[in-house]
Structures are given as C-alpha cells and as structure tokens.
C-alpha cells in the first residue's frame, strides 16, 4: 500500500543537480533501501522527504495526497521521522529527558508519561537501553537508539535512517535489523540509506539505486543478485577516459605495511593497510568515504601517529614523524579539505604559498621572513598555474575553489617531490579546473614522481591510476592493475562483498 510518493523531484544546489527527476514510491510495511555511492543523492533525497530541502521541481504525495513540506516540523506532524548520521542529543541528560525535550508542550513536565511510552517502545522493538543514564555516557551505537526513540516517540509512519550502521558493531547491526523488522511488521515504512551491499540484501524488501542524482531503478530485493545491484550502483559503461599510456613503475618510493590507526570499531580507522607505490606510478585508492582514507592520509603525511605498522619513504621509516620532516624527504601532499587543512584563508596568497616551508630558505633567513621570496614564488605560481587573482598579496579567502586548489598544488609540487599524496584533489571543482588538476598529476607522474591518488570519484581513480586499490573498513581489500580493471569486482570491493586479502570469511 503506497505511503509516500516522490514524483519527478529535482533538487539543485549551486553547481550541482543533487536529485534529477527522481520518482519512486514507498510502501507501508516495507524496508526500502536507498543505495548509491557518495554524492549519488541519497541523503538529499531523504532530506527532501523530511522537509529539509524543498524540491525545485516535482512534488511529494502522502497517501495519494499532495504533500507540501516547509520544514522538518511539517514532516514530523505528518508522521515522517528521520535519524541523521550526526546526532542532536543533549549529552548530560538521560534518554527520558532527551526525548521529553522538544516533544512535550509547555507546562508541567511529565517525565513519568514519557518513560511509560518509551518503555512500551523498548519492549515492542526489543530495545535494550537504560533510560536514565546520561546519553553522553552511552556508546555511539546506543546513542543512535536514543535518536530513533525520539523519532518513534512522536509516532511516525515513515522512519528514515541515514547510514545507521556506520557507527555499529556487527552485533549492533543485527540488533538494529531485528528492531527494524519488527517495525516493518507493525506496518511502518522504513527507509534505510546505505552503501553496504550485505546490509541491503540482508534487510530490505525493495531497493532504489541512485547514481549521480538519478534513479537507476527500483527493484524487489529478492528478485536481484548483489552483483546486479553493484553494477547498477557503480555501473556506467565507464568511458575510461584513457589515462594515456602507463609507463612501467620504477623503484618503490612509498611502502605501507600493516598500518593501524585507531580502534577497529571506530569509523574511519585503519586496520592493517598495506600497499606500495613506485616511481612514475599513480596508485589510486578508491572507496566510499569513511573507510579510513582520512586516517591513511594523515598517518602518511605525519599529522597523525599510527598505532602500528610501518610507513617507508625511500628507505626511511617515517611512521610517527612530524609533517615538516616528512615533507623535507621530498613529499608533497594535498589534503582533502582545502579550507580546513591546506590553506589559511585569512592569510594572503603569498603567505600561503610558503606554508610548511616558511621557516626554511628561501622563505626565511635566520628566522626572519623574506617577503620578497614569498612574493616571487607566489607570482611564479600565479603565472604557471594561471591562478585568477588580483595580486599575489591578495587575501586568500576571496578565491574560488579551483584557484585555491591551484595554490595548494603549486605549493606542494614545488621542488619536484618524489612522492605526492593527493586526497580528493578535484572535489568541488568545476570540470575545467578538475581537468587541470588531473593533467598536472599525469605530468608529475611522467616526471617520475610516485603518486598516491585517493578519491571518491571512481571515474577519476580509474582513468588516472596505474594500479587501483580499494579501501573498505580500514583495509585495502583488493588491488588491480590498470589493464585488468573490472567494474563488477571494484564495486564488490567497495561495497564490502568481496575481500581478496581475507580468505577466512568471504561474504557473499
């Protein structure tokens, strides 16, 4: 029985079409998965159903009637609830109080009533939670239950869960699924956002696959194979924009062995990463975000100290070295977040061009800044990289994303580093700016640099890399040479269905 209908919804953000003419229906008493890569538009679609975004085109219906949501307040009133990945809980307060907050009207606070209802819910869905512990003291997995209870308390017909398993242990996932099944049996519709294949096939009744903002298909889960879903998800008869010829790799420049950082249960931790990169080679690391890419970048460049394993650059073990020492070994690094990792936005362009080497010649002589050196270097970079800006002494903040990235590239590629690590080098850039960055990387490779390219843009990784490793749950689960690229396998690695490094438990 149809509960919610999405009819031709298009939602645009500046520069992106997040949802492009999306249509689907959600039925009562079903678990409906939204499956797709990063940036496929899953979250935007869910948030549209929850009233966070208003569609630019198209409309929603609830029980066949036109639904106009102005804010989440409206959607809650209509029985639509959503649990985000980032919780909004008051940590010093207990679960009962958190639920009471904002759900009870003005006047006397009747915690007893709230508690009674919560106990009913916990009983009905087999939720094991101490309602009186301050939520800040609960593990993240249980905090999520508080969020779910908050939503359920309001009485919803449709519950939207955005990547609810990201913070959970396998046991926690099973518990959650058990409760979701009970909710479904009670006639609720549950929308689950995920990119993990075994979860999708394990829990859902129906799946909608999204790719680049468009609905690829909506299918009954039991009517398809996991492999079909993977193909739909990464799909595209990829026009592997030939990264030209791949010269043979030279001597090994970077070797990472069994690298560990953080606890295995922690999202984004490293659980034994191993790979190596040779001179003149681009080693691409594909994977859905949150599988350890940030930690890998940080440990290699020296911002974070690993908890185990080795990082060898040339013949030096660099694990635990500080970023300046690593950089002096001939390493250039472009972090994922230009604004919060790479550039001091309130500094001038020329000041940023020396960041990291500001204490060394030619930028400093005996501790005194050589402003002309900064200026000359910046002017050179502006010319070489065609950075659009009024002058070298202009404030960095005003530049566009593409130009910001050019400053970072100019800084990091200066001095012809032997090893270059780039993370999300083209995120948020327009097509020509992105193309510019990619051409640079190829040129650096041809010069003989070893390059590690981490990106969530699968096309980018596939088109540039000499070899591709896929990261999942803090490990490189599979590796392929550019002439044996197989999308089905890559998709399976990305979705955690396949793991060639772990022969003990291959999930099917």
């Amino acid at each position: 029985m149809e509960l919610l209908g999405v009819h031709g919804v298009t939602t645009r953000f500046p520069g992106v079409v997040a949802n492009d003419n999306v249509s689907l229906t959600i039925h009562r008493g079903t678990v409906h998965c939204l499956l797709g890569e990063n940036g496929a538009g899953k979250s935007t679609l869910a948030e549209t159903m929850y009233g966070v975004h208003r569609p630019d085109e198209g409309y929603l219906t609830l029980n066949g009637e036109r639904l106009d949501l102005r804010s989440p307040k409206d959607s809650i009133a209509k029985g639509i609830g959503m649990v985000h990945q980032h919780f909004e809980l008051v940590k010093p307060l207990a679960t009962v109080e958190n639920v009471a907050l904002g759900t009870t009207g003005p006047g006397r606070l009747d915690l007893g009533k709230v508690r009674a209802r919560l106990e009913e819910l916990c009983e009905a869905y087999r939720i094991d939670l101490d309602l009186d512990t301050p939520v800040g003291g609960l593990p993240v997995g249980l905090q999520q239950w508080v969020e779910i209870l908050k939503t359920m308390y309001l009485g919803v017909d449709l519950l939207i869960l955005d990547e609810p398993t990201a913070a959970l242990t396998p046991v926690g996932v099973e518990r959650l699924f058990e409760s979701i099944r009970r909710m479904r049996d009670d006639g609720l519709a549950v929308i689950l956002i995920s990119h993990k294949m075994h979860e999708v096939t394990g829990i859902s009744d129906r799946v909608t696959v999204l790719r680049k903002g468009k609905v690829i298909d909506t299918v009954q889960t039991d009517s398809v194979q996991a492999a079909d879903l993977v193909r739909m998800m990464v799909g595209r008869s990829v026009e592997l924009s030939k990264a030209t010829n791949h010269p043979p790799a030279g001597e090994t420049k970077l070797s990472v062995t069994d690298l560990v950082a953080g606890e295995p249960s922690e999202r984004g931790s490293l659980c034994g990463v191993s790979f190596d990169v040779g001179a003149g080679e681009i080693y691409g690391i594909a994977g859905v975000s949150g599988n350890g890419q940030d930690a890998l970048f940080d440990t290699i460049v020296g911002v974070r100290e690993p908890d185990g394993g080795t990082i060898t650059i040339d013949d030096t073990d660099t694990a635990g070295m500080d970023p300046r020492t690593v950089s002096k070994l001939g390493v250039g690094s472009v972090p994922a977040d230009r604004i919060n990792q790479a550039l001091l936005m309130d500094f001038n362009i020329d000041e940023n061009i020396g960041l990291g080497r500001h204490g060394d010649r030619p930028f400093s002589i005996r501790g005194v800044l050589q402003r002309m050196a900064f200026r000359r270097r910046a002017e050179q970079a502006i010319e070489d990289y065609e950075i659009a800006c009024p002058s070298a002494s202009h404030i960095t903040r005003t530049l566009s994303g593409g130009n910001l990235q050019k400053i970072v590239m100019a800084r990091e590629l200066e001095g012809q580093p032997d090893l270059i690590i780039v993370h999300q080098p083209t995120r948020g850039l327009d097509i020509s700016a992105a193309e510019n960055v990619r051409q640079r990387l190829i040129a650096e490779r041809d010069r003989g640099a070893a390059i590690v390219l981490m990106s969530e843009d699968l096309d980018e990784v596939l088109s540039l890399s000499t070899r591709v490793g896929v990261m999942f749950d803090g490990k490189i689960v599979g590796e392929m040479h550019h002439d044996e690229l197989d999308l089905d396998r890559i998709g399976a690695y990305m979705a955690g269905v396949l793991d060639t490094t772990d022969t003990h438990e291959v999930v099917v």
Binding site: T11, R12, F13, P14, V52, H53, R54, D56, V301, G302, V303, D322, P323, R324, T325, S327, S333, P335, I339, N340, Q341, A342, L343, L344, M345, D346, F347, E351, L355, G356, H358, G359, F363, S364, G367, V368, L369, R371, I395, R397, T398, S400, G401, G428
Partner: protein, 380 residues
C-alpha cells in the same frame, strides 16, 4: 523596467558552503563582504568611538551634568595642556605594555586574561631583583636586571597556564583569570611578612633606592624611560609578528590550528611560547610602574592595567601601532577623569563606562564591517 521579483526557492542555505552567487530578489539585503579594507576598519573604530561618546553623554545628562562641559573637562584633563599630555603618556605607559601582552596572545587566539596577575608577578620580580642586588652596582646594571627578572616572573606566571593548557587541556581563560587572584594573595602574604617595610604600618615594601629609579625623560612631569621601552616593545612585537617565521607560526595557529598542523606547525610549542612572551610583556608593565613611578611595591601598584590592556588590544584590532594609539587615548581618559570630576561633578568612574562602551561598539563594528547592505541588481 519590469522588476523580476520572484523570491527564489533556494535550497537550505547551509547545504552549500562556498556559495556566493544566489539568485536575486528585488529587496535590500545584508550580505557578507568577501574582503574589507583598512579604511573600513578605521572608519568602523571611529564610528564606534562616536557611538560610545554619544551613549555616555546620555548618562552624563541623566546625572544632571552639562554634557559638553563634561567632555570639555575630560579633554582638557587629558590633552589640554602640555603637563596634562605628559601625564597622559605616563598613564598610557603600563597600558601599552599590557595591551601588547594581550594583543600578542590574542593573535594566536590564546586568550590570556591574566595580564593583571602577570604584571604583579613582574613587579614582584623587579623588587626581588633589588633585594638580591642591593645598592652595590650602578643603575645601568640594576635596572636591566630588574626588567629581566620581571619578564621571567611574568612569563613564569603565564607559563603555569601554558603547561595546564598543553599538558592537561585546561582552558587558559580560566587559569589565567584564577592566577590573577593567586598572585595577589602571594603578594599580600609577602607584604605582610618578609617584604614588609619594618618602618611602615602599611602592607608595602620600603622605598627602593634612587639607583633603581628610571631616568626621567622631561624636566617637568613624571614621564620616564618606561614609555620609550613600551614604544620599543611595540616595535619589536610588530616585527616578531609580521616579519619572523615564529610570528608567522603564531598567526597561523590563530588563523586555523588545523591548517597549521598540516603545515608542520606544532601547536603546543607555539602556545607555550606565546603565553610566555605575553606574560613577559605584562611583566615589563610591572617593572616599569615600580621603577618608573612608584618605587615601592604595594597591592595597589596596578589600577586594573591588565584588564584595561585587554580592552585596548581588542579596540586596537590586535595591532601593535594601534595599541599605542588606543593606550594613549585610554591614558587620557583616566587622566582627564579627575579634571572632569572636579569641574563638573561627574564621577571619574564614568571613564570606565566609556571604555567599556568603546569596547562593545568596536566589537560590534568589527563584525559589521564584514557585511554590506546591497540592493541586488534585478537582471541577476
């Protein structure tokens, strides 16, 4: 001309971060400026001052006094005569030091609120040096020794907060404020004990010998060498912040500690160094006051110089040259307050109100200059 006046159904604004070019409606709008210029900043400060004066005049007239006459008296007392101006500079001297101390730390976004306590620690250091050295040496040795120990004591006092912050993650705002109280009690303990002048009933030390007195700069008035040291310190602070790689790192930490970390700048080192330097500068204020004007260590050696220094630093937008200007203005207010009280009966405490209002308005202006009001073009 047909105005296209359809409010765009833009998606939620916080969904996109780097978005500047929204579709336009036809109404006046407040929007963020991408860049500000020096004349906007200076203009903002001037406007803020005018607003502070206007607001204070409401208070003055509410108190039943003549507004114009009061401000005239205030001006006369601060700048009106040569003697008044010289005394203004005397008042400004400790404020320049404490203003610089705050400005230096604030550049790194280290909130050292303990300038007052570090000033006291510095004064104690200077006095301590005099106890150790006695009168056996010439001034040229004694005075620098006092200043050095003052800086060490000021730095050491701030250093406690630095260690607590970097080792244990204790917020420096809390520790520096708390340390203000502690140093006052330590001083009180000493002044009622081993440091007390045996000839005096009061909790104060004996008068230091003339060898410790800072040279006077002018034949009349109290202006002493401390003023020149303050100016030199301002120049040095400017140089360190603007022209050295260490200053670059201090500013980087203040601008974005995460970016600084990726640039290989170790936050904790810079935090410690910044607090030590800030404390040392505040310590100089203590030595300058003790050796320049008072020569006797007593609990009232600072009249809130440390706290006023924070306001001065903020009003000066953390710029060393600005600190000098604002400190002299603040010195004139303090100095003129007496004249105002005598001639018009407006309590001298009003200048504290004016100073406070100036801070509020300057902070307001600092935010507002980042925005502009614009009527969007209808052709989009």
């Amino acid at each position: 001309m047909t105005a296209v006046d359809t409010p765009p159904e833009a998606p939620d604004a916080d969904a996109d971060d780097e978005n500047g070019d929204e579709k336009t409606g036809g109404r006046w709008r407040i929007e963020r400026r991408l860049e500000t210029s020096w004349y906007l900043e200076v203009g903002g400060v001037v406007l803020a001052m005018v607003a502070a004066i206007l607001t204070s005049s409401i208070l003055i007239s509410a108190a039943g006094s003549d507004v114009l006459e009061s401000f005239r008296a205030l001006y006369r007392g601060g700048f009106g005569t040569r003697d008044a101006f010289v005394e203004t500079l005397v008042q400004a001297t400790p404020l320049i030091f404490t203003g610089l101390a705050a400005a230096f730390a604030f550049r790194a976004k280290i909130w050292n609120i303990g300038g007052e306590g570090q000033l006291y620690a510095g004064a104690m250091g200077a006095y301590w040096a005099s106890r150790i050295l006695g009168d056996s040496l010439p001034s040229i040795v004694l005075i620098p020794a006092c200043f050095v120990l003052a800086m060490l004591m000021g730095a050491g006092w701030a250093g406690i907060a630095a260690v607590l912050r970097t080792r244990f993650g204790v917020n420096e705002i809390i520790t520096t404020v708390m340390l203000n109280f502690i140093v006052l009690n330590v001083l009180s303990f000493l002044l009622n004990g081993v440091w007390q002048d045996p000839a005096s009933f009061y909790a104060q030390t004996d008068r230091m010998s003339d060898a410790y007195q800072l040279p006077q700069l002018l034949s009349s008035g109290r202006l002493h060498l401390g003023f020149l040291i303050a100016l030199a310190t301002a120049a040095l602070v400017w140089f360190v912040l603007a022209r050295t790689s260490f200053g670059y790192e201090v500013r980087s930490i203040g601008a974005n500690p995460r970016v600084a970390a990726y640039g290989g700048i170790v936050s904790n080192k810079i935090i410690i160094a910044t607090l030590l330097i800030s404390g040392a500068i505040a310590g100089l204020a203590g030595a300058s006051e003790l050796l320049g004007t008072q020569l006797r260590l007593q609990p009232g050696i600072s009249s809130d110089f440390g706290f006023t220094g924070i306001i001065i630093a903020l009003v000066a937008r953390l710029r060393p040259a600005g600190v000098i200007v604002v400190a002299i203005a603040a010195g004139a207010l303090r100095n003129g307050a007496t004249t105002m009280q005598i001639t018009t009966g407006v309590p001298a405490a009003l200048v504290d109100v004016i100073t406070g209002l100036a801070l509020v308005f300057v902070l307001l202006a600092a935010v507002m200059v980042n925005y502009r009001i614009r009527r969007p073009q209808t052709d989009g």
